[in-house]
């Protein structure tokens, strides 16, 4: 599975700087995200991890630097364009559509694959009806994969935290992204829920093959995942490469073993032994 030969760069972050007034959230961060890897970004609070994700997903416009998605420049692009290109994310503080049901939340992410406009929708006939049913099929596969069938019709507002996190992952999957950005998917969870989510992330990464033959994203997996996470145990276990940020600068990058023994990381993050 982890064949070094077919690692190509999917996302290239070049010298990205972002500041809010006098605060430098990111200063000159460069990072490559490859195909066939789970890349973890770690760092103390306020290190700029989420800021970096926000730059990639188009939320923030970095003042300097460029981000390339396969050869396309994507820094300072509109977020909805990036979603169409194949970059999806989840948020640290769940950002679901609280008034919609689980099913409609995921369905809403199929937006980019639909062609109907509101006139088709008003008639609910022909193209509109066909599309609704076809995408519902895809949504049901995602619901099945994430084991959230029982809450399909429930409004997400009323769901417990762990389930909402799962729905949010489902919504990101429905975009069929090439790159998936996960912002602290396990924050605030207990051990069991963390294990579940870790399992889902690995399953998404590896792909489910013939279990979901008609669903490209579940079948083939998402081969580039960027994971921002505080739980070192999880990060060391599932990430193949780790980048460490501190005060907006990248201070280290490497395999989990390299990171564990990097003196600068130990000082900045893991803490020094007294």
């Amino acid at each position: 599975m982890n064949d070094v030969a077919d690692k190509e760069t999917v996302l290239r972050i070049e010298n990205v700087s972002l500041s809010f007034g006098g605060v430098n959230a990111l200063s000159g961060v460069s990072l490559d995200v490859n195909n066939n890897e789970i890349l973890a970004i770690i760092g103390p609070n306020g290190a700029g991890k989420t800021a970096l994700l926000n730059c990639i997903s188009g939320f923030y416009k970095p003042q300097r630097g460029q981000i390339y998605f396969h050869e396309t420049k994507i820094a300072r692009q509109r977020p909805d364009r990036l979603a169409r290109m194949g970059i999806a994310r989840t948020f640290q503080n769940i950002e679901l559509y609280t008034g919609l049901s689980t099913q409609d939340n995921i369905m809403a992410a199929r937006h980019v694959f639909m062609k109907q406009n509101f006139v088709d929708g008003a008639l609910y006939y022909g193209r509109s009806r066909r599309e609704e049913i076809k995408h519902r099929q895809t949504v049901e596969e995602i619901i099945d994969f994430l084991e959230i069938q029982s809450i399909r019709k429930q409004v997400v507002e009323a769901l417990p935290y762990g389930l909402r996190k799962r729905v949010e992952l489902g919504r990101a999957l429905a975009l069929e992204p090439k790159v998936l950005l996960l912002d602290e998917p396990m924050a605030g969870m207990n051990l069991e829920e963390k294990e579940d989510i870790a399992r889902f992330i690995l399953d998404v990464y590896e792909g489910q093959g013939d279990t979901y033959p008609d669903n490209p994203v579940l079948r083939d997996g998402i081969r580039s995942i960027i994971l921002v996470e505080h739980d070192m145990g999880v990060v060391m276990d599932i990430a193949e490469r780790i980048a460490v940020l501190n005060f907006g600068r990248k201070i280290a990058e490497g395999t989990p073993d390299q990171i564990k023994s990097d003196p600068e990381v130990i000082e900045a993050y893991l803490g020094q032994e007294a």
Partner: protein, 346 residues
Amino acid sequence: MIRLPSGTYAQDYGQDAALVRTKANWAFLAIVIVFVFTIPQWASNSFLALSTVIGITIISAHGLNILTGNCGLVSLGHSGFMMVGGYALAILCAKGGLPFWLALPISGLMAGVVGIIFGLPSLRIKGFYLIMATVAAYFIIHWLVLQFRSLTGGTEGLRVPSPDLFGLSLKDRAHYFYFVMVLVVIATIVAKNILRTRAGRAFVAIRDNDLAAEVMGVNLFSYKLQAFFIGNVFAGIAGGLSVQYYLYANVEQFPFFDSVWLLGMLIVGGMGSVSGAIYGAIAIKLLQQLATKIGPPLADLVNPQAAVGLGLILPSLAIILFLIFAPRGISHIWERLRNYYQAWPF
């Protein structure tokens, strides 16, 4: 979520998405439709007039429900956009000599286009500031109508010839009522369909979390303008119907306060719900009617001012009570009752 009675299964996704699922639903719907369409047979003239006005209001409320209830863009200019539709119809019919059936959809589109123009700021401004912008929209439209005297007749208004539909005269009040009710049914289906498909989900996504909606591929600018367009097409058609009903277009017919009542209808009926817009329009209109009925005796009893105040106090009180005790409106109460009945005796 409305629970379905046990034993109701969907065999495919088309069935699962169907609006009417059970035989009881069909029966209930049939009873309502038969009731509504026999109103001219048994009702008094005043009740028929009230029903027609309620029908027109429902169409308008559907529009505001899409724009405000679903897309979250609170508009206090809805009455102004009804005015655009009303005057467009009046000018097209009276001055352009266009037939009613052609002028009505055009007046809807006109209101929609004007809605897009006033919706342009909505990408930059939100919440309270957008409300102020829509209030401004109402007064700009009001002012323009009064200024272009040659076209609109200014304060005197504009007479409209009595409507006919492909040679069939709608002069008779009962016929016009049927026509309005057919449009109410169509408007309800259209509103429901828009809201359960792609555009509707995008609207709710924008309402609930505009930042996430953008990251999930919704073009905010385009969809906010679409919401303004759709919502105001409904307003324009309602305005056109209203002008045609009174055979007269006048700015007094579209007071600013109607915008506020329309919002109140959504609150009482249930924000965002299509059936809620219907319940709300009926409830507020009936309360206003009630006020005109019990106003005069009250004026004799208390003082003459009471009758005037009652028309404002009664519906306002209903809105306040709903905000406190049932903020999700009649449609949610109905939903809970149904679920309770469905699950009885548990």
